[in-house]
Symmetry: C2
């Protein structure tokens, strides 16, 4: 089967590019003695999670228990959930999951830690807990290294829990301040007699500088497997590395300077990540995807010499590939122009 | 079962509010002799499509053939697809669908019309086709009334097709220019001996002014059934009319002025529709959902006197309810605090 036989909109995954992207970062990490723990939110496919582990990843990262359950079912043995797990229902599932795989979570408050401890206090296998540190992202995480160590002590003192280290999702471009925070937390933890065995750093945007965060023992890139317009804008990869494209059809040419495609926010999402427009059209670099409604993408062709016609099929590199994976029940795995397999996105839509 | 037993994030649909919203617009349209043809993209649920018809809607509007197939399977008999259907695969499905239900589509180019004619020329039942008019939205549609009439003639002259009228999705706030375009297209069509039987206007933002577009015979509101933050900002409904809320849990309070919830762009979407922030938190009107990543919503509490604590569950009225429906495999139907039913979103993710 060829790509030309696939109806639109559809998500195409170039498996050769994905393989090269996985190998490239694994080789980099190996050369710097960094453990790789890829975030599967980008692909949500057991196939790629297994391949990442085959290539040398120590395990995977999931954001939701539902994703972790899918991956455990598929045979993945080592899963990190860098999330504050709160509430009875999720804690029950976490206890069950911990009996099946090597598992770790994060916490950034005594409330979360006490909830975890209550759930795990009578279990046979303690739960690994890392303290989440806000090294600049402004999302979750303790604000200062001394707070991180206070929580580390609380974890270490909690029956059923095991203090495993520190974790951050850094703000892109803040390698120096990330390292400063983590190094101080590590030093203070050691001074308190604690062993921060894992120091887990994250993100694709700074992944080629991951070794500069020298306190970190592992890195959790997600987007690196597919790349996208945002990562290219940050210099993390090139257009030729982009493995995920959205295949769309031009359905209207209302004016000389406007085309409308059958991919809107339900295919590309409204994520801009600070970029202008909603994706890059392969072969039409001067075209601007100016606006999206749910089922329409409006393209400004003002700057284009050649202009696509009604019925023409376009391939679009989205701003943010991870969110695209979550919108499609299945993706099309391709090699050059051949369809290799149409595969369900097994961990799509796992909201809790 | 009570709402308190539902894990988060989840989508709650207040069926009493949805019912009142449906009845309110149907009564308005009845009083103005306007046909209602609700867009099911908002709810994607056969249950509500059937209820809309029971209350007096002439049929429904879908944006994708896949949505229409789900609704036909559920027993809906009259479906309008205001979309340029392009490509062999979709045309085959359209032919099949036309044997099952009363069906109509739109076209805004001779290319689309010739494709439809080729597919339907030997079928027993002709396909109703309306000409899409761009009355100001800048999306699909012919640019001038005379172009609309030229395409109407082409449809009328095509074996297998039946010219059924004109359709627009207007730019919000352009009632006068929408009416001017449609009135001119109608008059020119009549002068050419054509009968624009249906003149279909759309959208919730201007639905209470729908009668001012006096050439229109029908209106296609979508969002009106649930309402959302955007519609409230436009004065279409009140906060008390909002039937869809996202239930989320506070998982982190990293600073005095920041809370993080377990609903990010995978639950609320990145749609801003020009608004600041990503939703309104019921009970915390001064809280600002300042940023989203996929699984985290970061809330700025600076302006709040009372501040939610870790573990507290919040209900959020999203900026745009339609895109939220597309992200969840199932929604929770509620009446006050009682869970009535947990129902699959049958037409979710129908991308083609």
């Amino acid at each position: 089967m060829k790509i030309t036989e696939i109806d639109t909109p559809a998500v195409l995954i170039d498996v050769d590019r994905a393989e090269a992207n996985m190998q490239r970062f694994q080789a980099y990490a190996d050369s710097h003695n960094l453990t790789v723990r890829p975030h599967i939110k980008t692909h949500k496919l057991p196939r790629f999670a297994k391949r990442q582990v085959e290539l040398g990843a120590v395990g995977i990262t999931c954001q939701k228990i539902g994703e972790a359950e899918v991956m455990a079912d598929a045979g993945i043995q080592d899963i990190f959930l860098p999330y504050n797990i709160v509430g009875a229902s999720k804690l029950d599932r976490l206890v069950a999951l911990n009996t099946r795989v090597k598992l770790a979570v994060t916490a950034d408050s005594d409330v979360t830690i006490r909830g975890l401890a209550e759930a795990f206090k009578d279990t046979a296998k303690p739960l690994d807990v890392l303290v989440e540190c806000d090294t600049g992202m402004g999302r979750c995480g303790v604000q200062r290294p001394d707070q991180a160590v206070e929580l580390a002590k609380l974890i270490a003192a909690s029956k059923g829990l095991n203090f495993a280290g520190f974790m951050t999702f850094p703000k892109p471009g803040t390698v120096v301040q990330t390292e400063a925070f983590l190094a101080e937390a590590k030093q203070k933890a050691l001074a308190a007699g604690l062993d921060p065995r894992i120091i887990s750093n994250g993100g694709s945007p700074d992944m080629w500088q991951a070794h500069e965060v020298s306190s970190a023992t592992e890195h959790r890139p997600g987007t690196y497997i597919y790349m996208d317009r945002y990562q290219v804008s940050k210099g993390v990869g090139t257009w030729e590395d982009c493995a995920l494209t959205v295949l769309a059809t031009v359905v209207s040419r209302p004016t000389d300077d406007r085309a409308v495609i059958d991919a809107g926010s339900k295919a590309l999402t409204s994520d801009t990540l600070g970029l202008d427009g909603f994706g890059r059209i392969v072969g039409y670099p001067d075209a601007v995807i100016a606006s999206l409604s749910e089922e329409h993408g409006v393209i400004d062709l003002t700057a284009c010499k050649d202009k696509p016609q009604i019925g023409e099929r376009l391939r679009i590199i989205p701003n943010h590939c991870c969110v695209v994976s979550n919108l499609f029940d299945r993706v099309i795995l391709i090699s050059r122009d051949d369809v290799i397999e149409i595969t369900p996105v097994a961990a799509r839509g796992r909201v809790d």
